[in-house]
Amino acid sequence: MRSDLAKKLSTLREAGTIVLLLAVVLAAWTKDHHFLEAKNLNSILLWIPLLAVVGMGQMLVILTRGIDVSVGSTMGLAGIIVGMLFRDHAGLNVFVGAGIGLAIGAVLGAFNGGLIAWLKIPPIIATLGTLSAYRGLVFIVSKGDQVASNDIPDALVNWTMNGPIKVGGVTVSWLLVWAVVASIITAYLLKQTRTGRDIFSIGSNPDAAMLRGIPVRKVTFIVYTICGAFAGLAGVLYASRYGFVNPGSAGTGFELIVIAAVVIGGTNVFGGSGTVPGVLLGCLLLGTINVALAVLGIDETWQKLVYGLVILVALILDSGVKKWLGKLSEVGS
């Protein structure tokens, strides 16, 4: 009986995101009836992949009651190294490049994981440190030079420009395919493997997880490693999406947008619950808002403010729902 209630409420939370999404679409459409045309839909669809790929890793981390604010710098570092490899080794296969980006990210993530799982440094502190350190490495490795657009191979740019499905001027890009692959892997991990289930149990009750013999450290380490790997892959996708990699801007500030997408997608900031479709919905909402802001003629400088407000609204809704649930169960008992 009560579990039905809880289920209804959790769908209600995602329903809230959908309502918010529809409201944004409606507002933009009222202003400009051409909002839902191919050009804008393509922009939205191109906004999602980077967010979703990094978001999957971030969700795993948040499920364990952690946070990784270094993902933007990880993206930048993997992006700049792989970009330089493309520049210096013409003819390097793009999939090999993606694999290298993934591996670099995994190493950076593993370092975070080591700090948090074994040295017991609080996640926010550890990753705040590496946020700065990894960005520093970006400048050192690149000597401050950006990888220019003519150094990015056409095969990589093709991931953004083309894709397997084209319906009326709307392209489902290869970037989006990467995002779908990352989402499927994450969903499989979470639902079908013991490690995935351990992630939920650690976030749901860390003390109990320890007492019940869950390998908390190992799982924590794995989670940050995966998070880094996805961010590293996203660095390569960034090069494809924007056609260049600038050491100062590649991935800078991206961590906040990613965390926003994950939380808006219904992942509990205190760990233990969250879903892949929810996070994808969060990415879709932020992508749509971004494009809608342009359509509504709102200056780009306002974007951060709007993101911030959306995060706050989502969190307030979240805690409101929880209070309400608490009251209901009190009445019920």
């Binding site: 009986m1 009560r2 579990s3 209630l5 809880a6 289920k7 639902k191 079908q192 493997t193 013991r194 995935g196 289930r197 351990d198 939920f200 149990s201 976030g203 749901s204 009750n205 003390d207 109990a208 997880a209 007492l211 019940r212 013999g213 869950i214 509990n268 233990g272 619950s273 169960s329 008992s333």
Partner: protein, 519 residues
């Protein structure tokens, strides 16, 4: 008078007589926390097919003993043998692998996961490619639960379950790992009588299947209902082991409280006849406590006894405005007050020294004088800034009055001993110049010498005109310090002893609801 426990037939523990080898055998167990010894060399055996009750007052060491056997703590001395082999248990996981499981009072479950996964967490059944086999897991969970006779949906989320149901989930988890030894640590404390009865049906069933069960409790009636053997602990010592057939409730109570008399009494020769300062009329709070009426006079110390969970602290919190009453009235000095929050209560002349110094009484990292003046900081400013000189002077005054042993009022309060920390908390509240002082377990974790000092101080404060209400689980303390003694049981005021009327036994009988079996 016929008592219900006589009805327990001999066959019920016939199986204990022939049980040969104990599964768990602990010898000379000692345990100390931060230098305070809570177990002082205790022996215990748990036999298959037997429910072994561990009983004692609050702080006797019974829960600690259970936790040692379950590997949650490591004893400072002594050996624990499981299955005839001495073990060095390092973790609950290791104990579980040897078949020992502990069921907690507050279940350690995963609220976001469903019932089946809570049972199999970390050991989910898998099929090809190591995929979690959800169908098999739910089927097996269903089978386990129905073998226990529990009607729970394996797919239900645990966050919505009652405490009793969550305990069943923990029990099922233990059994899914072939637990042979179950330690029930105050498991019944948050259950309704009906839930307790249901739990006992299951406990008997498991016992008959050959499990060794340790039942940790301070509820005498339950001990006699379910146990085949009773071990009584007092202040970390094993006082004795009895078969329920050979003893009665009064014997056990005598063993629990001991015989020694209070060495020093702080009660005045004459009963205070001062004006009534605090009066409660029919105070209620939902299901937590109801119809609590009493008064405390100027210059009087009233003790409030009862078991943990009887609602004593809840009454204090409601008076002080931390929680809200649902009925009745509180009067201070004849005027009805309705404290909405602690600030409000302080304005009306209440002060509450909470039970938990570490969390509610003191800010550990900051200095003694800042802690002492915390409640009156508002009045100690000079042009909007805190007047540090005044703070130091004021603290110094109370350090003298309360005889706090320290180097310097600027030293961190963390460096003080328990007794002196408690005095800092006390001075914090005395600075608010209260009319009514409520003390919740004023000497918990304080050593014996400092205890007497705190008691002497309380007496002095009362003689100085304060009305004091003291909550304590330490019967000796209650008898030593209080004039009148109130006993709460299950949220009700069940007995008021006039000065000189109470003994440890009579208080215990009232607190456990066994008054019918008078000594």
């Amino acid at each position: 008078m016929r008592s219900w426990w006589w009805n327990v037939s001999l066959q019920d523990y016939a199986h204990t007589v022939n049980s040969a080898e104990p599964i768990v055998s602990a010898r000379g167990i000692r345990m100390a926390f931060a230098g305070v010894e809570v177990l002082k060399g205790v022996d215990i055996d748990l036999f298959p097919g037997e429910v072994h009750g561990l009983i004692g007052e609050n702080g006797a060491g019974k829960s600690t003993l259970g936790k040692l056997i379950a590997g949650i703590y490591r004893p400072t001395a002594g050996t624990i043998s499981i299955g005839g082999v001495a073990r060095s248990l390092g973790s609950p996981r290791q104990a579980m692998e040897l078949g020992v499981a502990l069921i907690h009072q507050e279940p350690l479950t995963f609220p976001d996961l469903d019932v089946a996964e809570n049972i199999f967490v970390g050991r989910q059944p898998t099929k090809g490619m190591k995929r979690v086999d959800w169908a098999a897991m739910r089927t097996r969970a269903g089978e386990l639960l129905s073998s226990l006779g529990v009607a729970l949906d394996p797919k239900a989320k645990v966050s919505g379950l009652s405490v009793a149901d969550q305990q069943m989930v923990e029990l099922a988890a233990a059994l899914s790992q072939d637990a042979k030894v179950l330690i029930l640590d105050e498991t019944t404390a948050s259950l309704t009588p009906k839930e307790v009865a249901e739990l006992f049906v299951i406990v008997r069933k498991l016992r008959d299947q050959g499990c060794a069960i340790a039942f940790v409790s301070h509820r005498l009636d339950e001990i006699f209902q379910i146990c085949d053997r009773i071990t009584v602990l007092r202040d970390g010592d094993k006082v004795g082991e009895r078969l329920p057939s050979e003893c009665g409730v009064p014997d056990i109570i005598r063993m629990m409280v001991g015989r020694e008399l209070a060495s020093e009494r702080f009660t005045p020769a004459e009963h205070s006849q001062g004006k009534v300062m605090l009066e409660l009329k029919g105070l209620c709070q939902g299901k937590i406590f109801s119809d609590v009426s009493f008064n405390v006079r100027k210059g009087e110390i009233v003790g409030m006894a009862g078991l943990v969970g009887a609602g004593r602290t809840d009454v204090a919190r409601a008076i002080f405005g931390i929680t809200h009453k649902t009925g009745g009235a509180v009067f201070i000095d004849g005027v009805e007050v309705n404290a909405r929050n602690p600030q409000d209560a302080m304005k009306h002349g209440f002060a509450l020294v909470p039970e938990d110094r570490q969390h509610h009484g003191l800010l550990m990292p900051i200095s003694i004088c800042e802690n002492a003046c915390l409640a009156v900081l508002r009045g100690m400013t000079k042009t909007a800034l805190i007047d540090r000189k005044a703070i130091r002077a004021r603290s110094q005054e109370y350090v003298g009055k309360l005889r706090i042993a320290l180097r310097d009022v600027d030293q961190s309060v963390r460096d003080l001993s328990g007794g002196n920390q408690q005095k800092v908390v006390l001075s914090k509240w005395l600075m608010t110049e209260p009319k009514v002082l409520i003390l919740d377990e004023p000497t918990r974790g304080v050593d014996v010498g400092a205890k007497a000092e705190v008691h002497r101080l309380m007496r002095e404060l009362a003689d100085g005109g304060l009305a004091i209400l003291m909550i304590s689980s330490d019967l000796q303390e209650v008898l030593t310090v209080s004039e009148r003694i109130l006993v709460l049981r299950e949220g009700r005021l069940v007995r008021t002893f006039e000065p000189g009327e109470a003994t440890q036994e009579t208080i215990m009988l009232a607190a456990t609801g066994q008054e019918a079996h008078a000594l």
